[in-house]
């Protein structure tokens, strides 16, 4: 295939490669088909007149970079690479329960090595379940992307150019280029990429059916494929919205915007947008501007819609992450609630009704039983909502939803008068007394994911003090399972919110709006120090807000590594949690650290679908700094990242299937991901064994010799029990085989320093990471030399590492 410039035709989703000469016959590319019309064609075999040919869509590609071996890979094309990873990082399965209950043959007891009625065993069942989760996550993102692309094409046209960073970003779609081997230039190109993504998700999902895949490692390979595909889908979504909506384009100086419950102006009508798919929220802002209402109505959001809203409109406000949904609705602040998709509390409509706020539901993924009013006159919908004839409306046209939301908010706000359902102090005490009279039931605590001592707090509340209830606020994930469990029917979550009311109202912070991509220029600047190890690592705080002890731990970890001059990046709910804590000078991390992708910088890339800017940065280091061919060259780029790019993802509060598939996409690229203790409930880890020396050999590409490179990175997917354990592991997971001696010494300094501070001792595996005496940090030389002597350490070579034999430049006979 090499040397021939090729183009990709997708016909019934089967890729066909053909050359430029064929391509020049294309006269028109339509949405659903390419049409070739030839009035008259003279050939050796005769004359053809009025030839009209309809075929699938065509990518008109004039990219001169050689195409790599795996364009648009199928679900088995990268299996060999996956198996290399899975040999080193083997799955640890941790089932919730003993049975499989996926089909009517079951339930099947899989204990003690038993197989189910279909023949599946527990390892395959667990990996199948993990794949299902990843398919759900990838489907959520790609369906989101599909909706966005279709909507934006309708609004801006298919030929609207993809520009995510102007002159600062030449590699506009690193993941898509890497996976698919194409460069999207216009919005219409994104549809073709999504065709591929959707096709792959269908195949992956099919493999989970009863009587399909039966081997756990093959399921795991498919998990990695799902993750990779997810990153393509997310990249498409974010490219589309950055290009069309005027979001910051790879801008390290994206504006600081307001976040927190306390930043919402209660004097104005408030519209709260919840979810991840931003068009309805943007239509609200556009309608306000077009109708002279800008500044008269407060528009705010929760979860990633809020991120994307502030990327478009910096005066909009972020309330907080997913765990703030219930407390915000119950506070009575929102006059209208606009729901789009993903990570929305599915009882939002019920909660909205309690505060007499109409809900406008805007996605076909979440209809909540509401009547479809998409084709109804706006005046009629607004009247019905204002008069509370209906609790809400399903409106699948974002522009119409935007107008309805604004006009309804204006009319509803004076009627509602911020009606809330948070009880007053006297009522909390009264209810707590009733609770105390029930006795020692503990149902609330036994329902709480964090095992919070709610009963003790209720007893103290019954005695007149709400202090212990207020103390629960920081660690409460806002799930309200305590309320569902309470046999007295108490609104315990509301009690906690009341007790912590002062704290809640004081939540006023700054976050840098999502910057989008990392500039090529930034990559050129940091590529060398990252690969050589002189910048000790890239730490990405991503994912949801299911924290064991509140978001403060994420902010602490973020500040620790920014201070140590790691490159810190963030996205999604984690990016918000980082913002919601101030230092002793009253500044949030975003006010302390610059937004550059550089040592000591803190970049918020944006929402969930912005995560490929993080994986893409690693890919761009291989492509831009190291000049490795990127196009459809997945294995080689992943091999480069695994061995050279010291990056680690931290999803401290990961809870969703989307977080699961996002992590899987990082693993296939050789980037480890760590989750907090609740992440153990994903029920599968990918762990290395540092005590198995044979697992940690790579080839020296210069000589073909097999060389011990140490357990770097030690794990691909890992649950840490505590923040302290996580911090030590972050430093360790940034170590890579290719580090120079200077770089390795810097990385080991951080690893040892954190280990000593948090564990009270030097690490016991330091000898595995010291290759030559020059790797030893000068300030710890005596201590480390003593350990090396005890461990009978021997000096070893520093290779040009690869685990792909085909990349060996000089083979031995």
């Amino acid at each position: 295939m090499s040397g021939l410039r090729q183009n990709k035709l997708r016909l019934n989703n089967a890729p066909i490669i053909f050359t430029d000469s064929t391509c020049s016959a294309v006269s028109q590319v339509s949405k659903k088909a390419a049409h070739v019309k030839i009035k008259e064609l003279k050939t050796a075999i005769g004359v053809i007149k009025d030839l009209e040919l309809s075929i699938g869509r065509i990518f008109e590609e004039k990219w001169t970079e050689l195409i790599g071996p795996t364009p648009f890979p199928s679900i088995t094309d990268l299996r060999e690479w996956d198996f290399k990873l899975l040999k080193r990082y083997q799955p640890l399965y941790m089932p919730f329960c003993d049975v499989c209950c996926l089909c009517t043959l079951g339930k099947c007891d899989l204990t003690g090595g038993k197989r189910g009625a279909c023949g599946i065993d527990m390892t395959a069942q667990q990996s199948r379940f993990f794949l299902l989760g990843c398919c759900i996550g990838a489907a959520a993102h790609s369906a989101h992307a599909r909706h966005l692309v279709e909507h934006l094409i309708e609004k801006y046209g298919r030929r609207f150019p993809i520009d995510v960073g102007g002159l600062t970003v030449e590699v506009e779609a690193p993941i898509t280029r890497l996976v698919c081997g194409v460069r999207p230039k216009i919005l219409g190109d994104l549809e073709d990429i999504l065709d591929y993504v959707e096709n792959q998700i269908t195949h992956l999902l099919a493999s989970t059916h009863t009587g399909q895949e039966g081997n756990n490692l093959d399921f795991e390979s498919k998990v990695l494929h799902a993750g990779m595909i997810d990153h393509v889908g997310m990249e498409v979504a974010d490219m589309a919205q950055i290009a069309t909506y005027g979001f910051p384009k790879a801008d390290p100086e994206a504006p600081l915007v307001e976040i927190g419950f306390g930043v919402i102006d209660l004097q104005k009508p408030v519209i709260a947008c919840i979810g991840h798919n931003v068009p309805p929220a943007i239509e609200i802002v556009d309608y306000l501007k077009a109708n002279g209402l800008h500044g008269k109505i407060e528009v705010c959001g929760l979860c990633c819609t809020a991120h994307d809203l502030t990327r478009r409109s910096p005066e909009a406000k972020i309330v907080g992450p997913i765990s703030w949904q219930l407390r915000f609705i119950r506070s009575g602040v929102p006059d209208v609630i606009v729901i789009d998709e993903q990570c929305v509390r599915v009882d939002s409509l019920i909660e909205a009704q309690k505060i007499k706020a109409p809900a406008i539901v805007t996605s076909n993924k979440i209809c909540l039983g509401l009547q479809d009013r998409t084709r109804d006159p706006i005046d009629k919908i607004v009247a019905d909502l204002v008069e509370a004839k209906v609790p809400g409306a399903l409106i699948l046209d974002p522009a119409k939803a935007g107008e309805v939301a604004v006009r309804t908010a204006v009319k509803v706000a004076p009627k509602r008068k911020k009606f809330k359902i948070i009880p007053d102090v006297a009522e909390v005490i009264e209810k707590a007394k009733e609770c105390a009279s029930i006795g020692d039931c503990n149902d609330c605590r036994r329902a709480c994911p964090n095992d919070l001592p709610i009963p003790e707090a209720m007893i103290e509340a019954a005695a007149g003090s709400l202090n212990k209830l207020a103390d629960l606020y920081e660690e409460c994930v806002g799930c309200a399972r305590c309320e569902s469990a309470c046999r007295a029917g108490n609104s315990i979550h509301s009690f906690i919110i009341k007790a912590a009311e002062k704290k809640l109202k004081e939540e006023k912070f700054k976050i840098r709006a999502g910057r989008g991509a990392i500039q090529d220029l930034e990559i050129r600047k940091v590529g060398s120090p990252i690969v050589l190890g002189e910048i000790p690592g890239v730490v990405a705080f991503v994912g949801c807000a299911n924290y064991p002890h509140g978001g403060k731990e994420v902010a602490e970890m973020c500040s620790e590594f920014a201070k140590r001059r790691y490159i810190v990046v963030a996205s999604g709910c984690s990016a918000m949690s980082i913002a919601m804590h101030k230092n002793e000078e009253g500044k949030t991390p975003y006010e302390v650290y610059a937004g550059d992708f550089d040592a000591g910088g803190l970049s918020n890339v944006g929402s969930c679908v912005s995560n490929p800017h993080i994986s893409g940065a690693a890919v761009k280091i291989a492509s831009i700094f190291a000049r490795r061919n990127l196009r459809a060259n997945y294995e080689e780029i992943a091999d480069y990242i695994l061995n050279r790019v010291g990056a680690v993802g931290v999803a401290w509060g990961a809870l969703s299937q989307k977080a699961q598939s996002i992590a899987s996409g990082f693993w296939r690229l050789g980037i480890p991901v760590m989750v907090g203790p609740h992440g153990s409930k994903y029920r599968r880890m990918l762990l290395g064994r540092k005590d198995h020396e044979e697992d940690w050999y790579a080839y020296d590409a210069r000589t073909g010799d097999k060389v011990y490179v140490g357990p770097a990175p030690e794990h691909l997917f890992y649950t840490a029990e505590t923040k302290e354990e996580a911090m030590v592991m972050i430093a360790k997971l940034c170590i890579r085989p290719s580090d120079t001696t200077k770089g390795r010494a810097i990385k080991l300094t951080h690893y040892c320093d954190l280990h000593k501070r948090l564990y009270g001792t030097m690490p016991d595996d330091i000898h595995l990471f010291v290759r030559t005496a020059a790797d030893i940090p000068v300030t710890m030389k005596d201590e480390i030399l003593k350990i090396l002597e005890e461990k009978r350490w021997k000096e070893r070579t520093i290779p040009d590492p690869t685990i792909l034999p085909r990349l060996i430049r000089k083979r031995k006979e």
């Binding site: 640890l92 089932p95 919730f96 329960c97 003690g112 890992y718 001792t761």
Partner: protein, 179 residues
């Protein structure tokens, strides 16, 4: 309290832990084990009654029964502060992984363990860890010394009051001290 999972939504399946009728059973199990291992998580530092924390009881137990201790998370230093040197620190994921490997030589190079006792690990984490061991390491016996019922263990306490739980730990230590 009854032998039902502490977190009510946790449903284990057909194979459930035996509940200790009395704490002395732990003593017997430890004494008859050829190679026991004690795994202590970070909550052992926070939980306890009055001044004495669970970690203090575990130190006494380890010293008395000469059981090697794996300190998980970051609490290795807490042991050292109390003048006790655990056999090693290792993350709970890593020790779980190694306990599933029949070829693992153990912390002392003498081979795999036949009894693992867990305490101080968050309930939901211990839940999946014990399940993992139940399914993948059927020859390993596991004991949950925690306050709440862990059905994926081989044996576990039922859900206990804090006071009674501490009493049980004392009974176990006293039992192990007796010849």
């Amino acid at each position: 309290m009854s032998a039902e999972p502490w977190q009510r939504a946790e449903i284990p399946g057909p194979k459930k832990a035996l509940v200790f009728a009395k704490p002395e059973v732990v003593v017997t199990m430890v004494k008859t084990a050829k190679r026991p291992l004690l795994i202590v998580g970070h909550e052992a530092v926070n939980n306890g009654l009055n001044e004495e924390k669970v970690i203090d009881y575990m130190i006494r137990m380890a010293k008395t029964a000469k059981i090697p201790v794996v300190a998980t998370a970051h609490i290795f230093g807490e042991f050292v502060k109390r003048g006790f040197q655990p056999a090693t620190w290792m993350s709970v994921m890593d020790i779980t992984n190694r306990l599933q490997d029949p070829e693992w030589k153990g912390l002392d190079g003498m081979g795999q363990y036949d009894l693992a006792l867990f305490i101080g690990i968050p309930y939901y984490m211990e839940w999946v860890i014990l399940s993992s061991l139940k399914h993948i390491s059927p020859d390993l016996k596991t004991i949950s010394l925690g306050r709440f019922y862990q059905p994926h263990a081989t044996c576990s306490f039922s859900n206990l009051s804090l006071k009674y739980w501490i009493e049980c730990l004392k009974v176990i230590i006293n039992g192990l001290e007796a010849k």
